[in-house]
Amino acid sequence: MRKKLTAEQVQTALDTLYGAVEKQLPSDRPIAVIGIRTRGEILAARLVERMGREHPELSINHGVLDITFYRDDLSRRRGAPLVRATEIDFDIDDTWMLLVDDVLATGRSIRAALGAIHDFGRPQVVRLAVLIDRGGRELPIAADFIGKKLTAGPDTRIQVRLREHDDKEGVFLVECASE
């Protein structure tokens, strides 16, 4: 396990991400920020907190999405970890929706998230914000806002660790046997 970004560098990437998002926040329609469990949820919470602080005039709804049931690799796993609830208790129809995740790689999580969102309603637009884009896409999906681009080999996983969940902060490279 190698450290790729320090806590400060994570903050810088997050600032970059926020800056990019902020430019496009609409003022004429409700904004829905949806974090994808687990670390997208934390990043979304940080973004929402800052948006609320710097743009109190905006109407921002905040939700959490658990995409476990929408994953296309569900039946390939052994054993079921605890699944947690999706928390979207507002109307998402016609919102400007920002999906937030930590790492964009194959794009499969985002496909699953879009499928899940579809079951809740019909946002006007959906934009995607990720802290790290590491490439390696397997589906035609791209992020609209990116904190930092990293490159890593196919046998390397990029792990984002965040204070709220992991008691430490940084981005790490983990070598793993190809699955």
Binding site: G35, T38, E41, I42, A44, A45, V48, E49, G52, S59, I60, N61, H62, G63, V64, D66, T68, F69, Y70, L74, S75, R76, R77, R78, G79, A80, P81, L82, V83, R84, A85, T86, E87, D89, F90, G115, A116, D119, F120, G121, E164, H165
Partner: protein
């Protein structure tokens, strides 16, 4: 589930699950006797996640898309069947239903034959209700498909107990130290057995209440206490779970009449007034109104009978999801 409109991050706080590392690996759910307390909590926690699905406009998630849940009901049941069917459908599974009235005691197709036949058609989960104790347990080593017990004779009814326990936890926040009375025909009740086992594993106290003809003395070996007087325990319990009484029991001299049963072991407004103010009144349904419960109790503020039914769906979704994830 809270449904208030949130305009800030108030409801979406990052939280750690109790045991994020725990993996459910069990193929079958035939009884709570087989489960560890950790596994029981895992089912309950998973069920919490599924509650939200029922509040959506599209009440469906693709978790079991393309899978087939076979409901094999060798004994009649309308409600349990509906609950499982709906749970499977909310998980996007297809269901097939087979009803076979008991298994032939002499020659003819055995339960094992039937189950192997259905398995050969290519199903992914069996939900089995059977009039004979242990019927699903006898099958688990003989078929490869996960088996969920939807009630076996007077033995176990694990999903009913899980939804009862889920409801208690939802209302009281914990099971630890909670004192639960289970009232009625304990001897012939699968609901009682599964509840006693599950509640004890999660740290609750259980007292079973009924006449000696319906409460076997050796049931204390399961870790519960016995009372033959409902009135004696009213003030000391947090939950009263009233079991459905089968009318045919009084023909075998297990109690003299429904009238007498109701007067000694029925829940009414007078008895409710002697309970703790926030006592939970439960019943696995269907209620014999005026026998186990009077209507004012069944429909009153202490009753959580309908919540039990609602929770049953989330619990059964969780169970179907978990067992179907355990293999491949």
């Amino acid at each position: 589930m809270m449904t208030k409109k949130a305009s800030s991050s108030s409801n979406a706080r990052p939280s750690k699950s109790k045991n994020p590392k725990f993996l459910w690996t069990r193929k079958d759910l035939v009884g709570l006797d087989e489960l560890s307390s950790e596994e029981i909590v895992h089912v309950l926690d998973t069920a919490v996640s599924f509650q939200e699905v029922s509040t959506r406009s599209i009440k469906k998630i693709p978790a079991l898309r393309g899978k087939v849940v076979a409901l094999l009901f060798f004994e009649d049941s309308t409600r349990t069947r509906m609950s499982f069917e709906l749970a499977a459908s909310r998980l996007s599974a297809d269901t097939v239903f087979l009803s076979g009235k008991g298994s032939s005691t002499s020659k003819g197709e055995t339960t094992l034959d039937t189950v192997r036949n259905v398995e050969a058609m290519g199903v992914d989960v069996f939900v089995i209700r059977h009039s004979q104790s242990g019927a699903p347990h006898q099958l688990v080593d003989k078929v490869n498909v996960p088996i969920v017990n939807a009630g076996d004779g007077p033995h176990e009814h694990p999903t009913q107990a899980l939804l009862d326990i889920f409801t208690i936890r939802q209302k009281l926040g914990t099971l630890e130290g909670v004192r639960v009375a289970i009232v009625g025909d304990i001897a012939h009740s699968r609901v009682a057995r599964s509840n006693i086992i599950g509640l004890r594993k999660l740290g609750a106290e259980v007292v079973v209440v009924g006449p000696p003809t319906l409460v076997p003395a050796t049931i204390t070996a399961m870790g519960c206490e016995i009372s033959h007087s409902l009135d004696d325990i009213l003030g000391e319990v947090d939950v009263i779970n009233m079991l459905r009484i089968q009318f045919e029991r009084f023909s075998s001299n297990l109690f003299p009449s429904l009238r007498e049963y109701s007067s000694l072991f029925g829940m009414n407004a007078d008895r409710l007034s002697k309970c703790r103010k926030d006592v939970l009144i439960m019943h696995p349904g269907p209620i014999n109104r005026g026998v186990e419960l009077t209507s004012e109790v069944a429909d009153g503020p202490n009753s959580c009978i309908l919540q039990q039914v609602t929770n049953g769906l989330a619990v059964r979704m969780a169970v179907l999801y978990l067992v179907s994830q355990s293999r491949h």
